[in-house]
Amino acid sequence: MSERVMSTDGRRVLSVRDLTVEFPGDGDTALRAVDGVSFDLAAGGALGIVGESGSGKSTTALALLGLHRHSSARVSGEILLGEDDVNALDDESVRRLRGRRIAMIFQDPMSALDPYYRIGDQISEVYRTHTGAGRRAAWAKAVQVLDRVGIPDAARRARARPHEFSGGMRQRALIAMALACEPQILVADEPTSALDVTVQAQILDLIDELRTETGMALLLVTHDLGVVSRSVERVLVMRDGRAVEQGPVGEVLKAPAEPYTRALLDAVPRLDGPGREPRAPGEPLLTVTGLTREFRQPGGGLRREVLRAVGDVSLDVRRGETLGVVGESGSGKTTLARMIVRLLEPTHGSIVFAGQDITRLPERGMRAVRRDLQMVFQDPVSSLNPRRTVGDSIADPLRVQGTGDREALRTARDLMERVGLDASRHDRYPHEFSGGQRQRMGIARALSLRPKLLVCDEPVSALDVSTQAQILELLGDLQEEYDLTIVFVSHDLAVVRQVSDRVAVMHDGELVELADAADLYASPRHEYTRTLLAAVLAPV
């Protein structure tokens, strides 16, 4: 349904009609990444485009600046920027538009700036290109916009190169570059997806402020319904290249007209959604005490700096429960998970599993313990051997532990069925499957030995929200069926709340708070937990 709504004050800065982008495929087939999408953006307004991966939302954003030119893509339809049709202008005119009238910021701030030049130089270069200003004036402008986006000591920091900035700072620098020529429209393509939740909140605040101050319009492309509801007035939902639904953000997210939007919204885990039924606490299955892991920093001879990835963490995991472990990047949560399954040796501390101290158990002794202690990995691409069939990958743990080949393969096929895969495809290779399917295989492999404890390291963070919901549901069912105890590591507080009985919060390698899920989310005791919770965005 392509409802066409004129902007409220009638003045549009951007008007897109029947935008279609095709990429040539094999032979005569063409992949239609964007299929007849139309929308308007009012002066000073904010439109969000949401969709899962492959929905065509980023392709749409790139088309607005004519960035598909000189690639294999075929773009048709109208992109009216004021009076100018970006799709019909010559290259030079489009070049003049870019950065001056319509500016763009990108998802990965790590790679979006040229590593070889000073940040101030890169911003001045853009400013000079469009205004013809002198070096001095351009530098002054660069310092001014850097200061405006909240880079402390901007005059000095303008001389830094991108690698000297943190992720959040780089995104600020990119926003500063966008501000330099005071464009009418800012296109933001997943501007906060690569950032931690607290940094995300700061960046979104900054974009808000700048909008009110300069009156520029915002086109925000994201997969995150929470970000959309927080930052825009109108929203366009995309799926498989088509516009599913559009309208004011409150209406669409509160009362979606389309089933797809409804399903998308239902799949999003919420901080105020239903948590787990509280259950009777069992006896500890795993006890870690004073667990510490230090890494030697590379370089520097004898006086090497030691980085403490995990410092003095002590906790119990009780039989039958799910313990959630949350933290931002660099909090040490993954290091902790890897130590628990003995993929990493702890520097200090002890791990007692099922009454046995396994901290320094040699690999030979570990073999029997391995049966009970398995892991599900984050990256569905690297967690399966691309050169082994999926059936073999799932059956391998059984073979290693001495099950006969035929028996192992039969179990593998049963497990594939159990996790929702077609068992007849057991002789295929991983690249023929989607990310969600691969994650199911990873789970099947971890379950093949019928472990007691399953450590899941960010098992759903590489997946789209609807796939994520399915995998979470599967894990919940399997926990009942296989009588599993689960350690669930994630950066996503809402997901953790949904699956956990108790939650541990980690910050800078330390355990800052550990409590029952309901208590922790209702009344966080630690300052950092409160900051984290405050930064979480919910749709609506």
Partner: protein, 329 residues
Amino acid sequence: MTRYLLRRFASTVVLLVVMVAFVYVIFYALPSDPAVLVCGKGCGGGQLAAIDHKLGLDQPEYLQFWHFLEGIFVGRDYSSGPDVSHCAAPCLGFSFQNDQPVLSLIGQRLPVSLSLTFGAMVLWLLIGVSAGVLSALRAGRFTDRVVTAVSVLAFGAPIFVSGLLLLMLFCGYLHWLDFPVYVPFTEDPAAWAKNLLLPWFTLAIAQSAIYARLTRSGMLETLSEDHIRTLRAYGLRERRVVGRHALRGTLTPVITITAYDFGYVLVGAMLTETLFGLPGLGQLIVQSSNNVDIPVVAGLTLVAGAAIVVANTAADLLYAVIDRRVVLA
């Protein structure tokens, strides 16, 4: 930085000692008698013994090796009966063949090798880098195909084949040039250049192919990076995107390899020098190896290793200056 240089220096010394030891092992583990080489077939036992003594060949091998190292750092004395000749540090000994100090043999030939290497390097950088950039900017189109086809051909042609073909064409068939004879730059710069034209191009053809490939793939890779998309999204002119931003990322590995190649070609252009009869270091290596002239081979090995390591270190330093993200360790 200082720490890096110290470490680098230490590892260089170790590498060089290992290389020289290797030369000694090779030459002494195998049956051959240097004294016979020095004296000629007609010498008797007494003469041979005297020569052995003068050269120190009557001492155990490890002592000979030690004296060789000693000579480099503090100099050493050679005695044959009553006369003692002192060889000041750095002493690489004397050639078995003609009794000349190895260092002066190397000194005589260094200008030739430098002339050859330097000129060829300018050529291969010019040809290779511009062909590579052109090819990347026209990726998949006609120009690209021509450049890549030519570079596969040039890459596959051994130096002595392409050199001979050039000789045939320019000296034998067109008669534009005479067979090259080395003329020192100080004597006649024009003749120097004219005579080196063919060797320069011969060397440069093979090298340009490598540099064109390297530049092309580097350029394509850089052009596909996110920050290039950012620059385009901000309306920078394509000339500037390519010339200032993409080229910088591309040239970094090219510079590293240039420094390395300079060191290697300086001492290792044996094929070119042999083919064109240029009296450079490469030709000296071939000749002295064939004559089992151990001191010369050992000395040359040392110089070769040093040249390569120094060039490598220079490349690393340069790299760190160009790309500030690199931490020297």
